[in-house]
Symmetry: C2
Subunit: 361 residues, 2 copies
């Protein structure tokens, strides 16, 4: 067993807004500690320390290299623009740092494969920063979904992920710049839709995907809003998702099976930090005269003692500690999950870029 008194020491490359949330999670998780942050602007890094009330013991570096060169750093969290992921994730792995990488993981699956290869050959853990996988609600939903007597076979999936950022986002944010994050809303909000759809299908890749012409781009050609369908031929399953920077916040998922179905309104970020719900029915039918149902939806509430992002850090750190201890090898499950999402992301983008052609996978 890993000595619980030596937590995983994190270094963070860059001071992106999302790093604030992950900093907090690193401090909340019982097996991790924030060791170093960095920014190309030392002022920005110092401001980050103050703004987030970080300990004076946290090292503040003015370059990402310094984080990678710090022998006390076990793992790095990389919230850099997608176009920089390949370089910095591979460099980190080569320095034997475990890699927690923001999504979308790479500009294409070829790049992601180079990152995953670097992690594998260096014996370090890889995980992407999708937090909802780690919520106990997700585990509870999976339990129901996996029970053929309760859920049957998945038949139809719908997911949405949208939010309406302030006007300055559209001027300045990396997710609106073709050279920084060419996936735009598809790689950001859409990453979650793709993830939960694949999660519902046990990460089996679809037969084909197709973006739909309801796709809006900004003047840089970056997708601000799109809809796509995914189709699994063998299972006869269709999934549809809508992702957008142009609608108010939604993060819906409906998974409909032959015997059961569930619906979640707040998948990616639960309404509350300490518990989350989903609605569920199984074996629903009309009653006599078709004037009602044999049941009402059941609201399943799952309490969680940590926020989901702290569970993510805890799971990642547990793996890192095991690897450091030589009791386990890196868990390739997480890289596999990221890779499925990236393959579908690439295919949807390719469909949108080619006049909404059907793209076989």
């Amino acid at each position: 067993m890993a000595d619980k008194k030596i937590p995983v020491r994190f270094g963070i490359l860059g001071c992106a807004e999302i790093a604030r949330k992950v900093c907090r999670a690193i401090n909340l998780s019982p097996n991790s500690t924030l060791h170093a942050i960095s920014s190309r602007s030392i002022e920005k890094a110092k401001e980050f320390v103050t703004k987030n009330g970080l300990s004076e013991l946290v090292k503040v570096y003015s370059s990402y290299e310094e984080v990678l060169d710090d022998p006390l750093v076990d793992a790095v969290y990389v919230p850099l623009p997608t176009s920089l992921h390949l370089k910095w994730a591979v460099l980190a792995a080569d320095k034997k740092k475990h890699v927690l990488l923001e999504k979308p993981t790479a500009l294409n699956v070829g790049e992601l494969d180079r990152i995953l290869d670097a992690c594998e050959s260096n014996g370090v853990q890889f995980m992407d920063g999708s937090m909802w996988y780690h919520h106990p609600r997700t585990a509870r939903m999976k339990e129901l979904l996996s029970d053929p007597n309760i859920f049957g076979q998945v038949k139809s999936i719908y997911s949405s992920s949208s939010f309406l950022p302030p006007p300055e986002f559209f001027e300045n944010n990396i997710r609106t710049k073709a050279d920084l994050d060419s996936f735009g809303a598809l790689g950001d909000a859409g990453w979650y839709c793709i993830g939960v759809i694949l999660w519902s299908m046990n990460y089996k890749l679809p037969t084909f995907v197709k973006a739909l012409p309801a796709t809006i781009r900004n003047s840089n050609g970056v997708i601000m809003s799109t809809t796509a369908t995914l189709y699994w031929e063998q299972e006869g399953v269709t999934a549809t998702f809508y992702c957008s920077f142009l609608s108010h916040e939604t993060m819906e998922v409906s998974v409909l099976g032959s015997k059961g179905s569930f619906h979640v309104e707040d998948l990616i970020i639960p309404y509350e930090e300490s518990s989350a719900s989903f609605s569920f029915t199984s074996g629903a039918a009309f009653v006599d005269l078709h004037i009602g149902w044999n049941m009402k939806e059941q609201v399943v509430r799952v309490d969680n003692e940590l926020p989901q992002e702290a569970f993510m850090i805890k799971e990642f750190s547990k793996l890192v500690l095991g690897i450091k201890d030589s009791t386990i090898r890196p868990d390739t499950k997480w890289g596999g999950i990221s890779r499925s999402s990236q393959v579908v992301l690439d295919a949807v983008k390719s469909s949108a870029d080619s006049g909404f052609k059907t793209v076989y996978i």
Copy 2:
């Protein structure tokens, strides 16, 4: 004003299972009464009277013609197989009977147009038997949906309608027979999905529709399950629906707008007869640090003093009484709503029948 002491006298053509529910609704509505029922089998008709505890005053006819020839019958409810709608709805209109027609309304929009023409030229009211339009919850949802400050513009719509009938359904039911109801699950469960999608779009027809290969047919070639997408070019809106006889009961609708969104689990038949709910958010956004929302979904509950099917009968009867009174002309809104649904139904079937081609409308 119509004399409230003379309610609309209904005759029913056929003793289909759904007629039991509508009988009850006719009796519950304050402005209607059941005058006559009919079946080609007089035993079946008599059994229907007993089973439903109908008054001894209700006339029992052994042919549909007799209902149409009864001068006391003001209006007919027609729950016959779709293939018989054209003949009997036109005959009824020609006999000056107001027509409440089960869905799907016809085998194609050409047939429906002949029915609507017959109703118009005979000055009788037409309405199809979709009950959910008449629930006060629907009116409340429409109020929110129509407010640009609350809902903004519709962006994405998802709807499902499914149920799992007993094995004998697949042997005997008219909805599984190509010569009786060639639309199968698409015309039955799918009618509602198409209806609510069009309702969300103020009945504007989509630019194109496309059925998806996740389509299952029985040995007669009748659709048992399908998925389709609808697209509105000008609005950039995509809608998807799943309809099926092969999944447990679902009747979900999610309508997502730029500023608001709502979700309903039990659209077609509410869980309860006396009230119904939907969940709603407007202006939703992340809070600081992306660790929660600025709101939770609001559950809007709408009480109703009558079941929705009784509201349907009441609305239809109100129109009939007004027409009898010569205070109003037939309201063509209802025929227009049915016609939009039929046009989309035809297009989805045409797509499914042609190898899932895109069908422009």
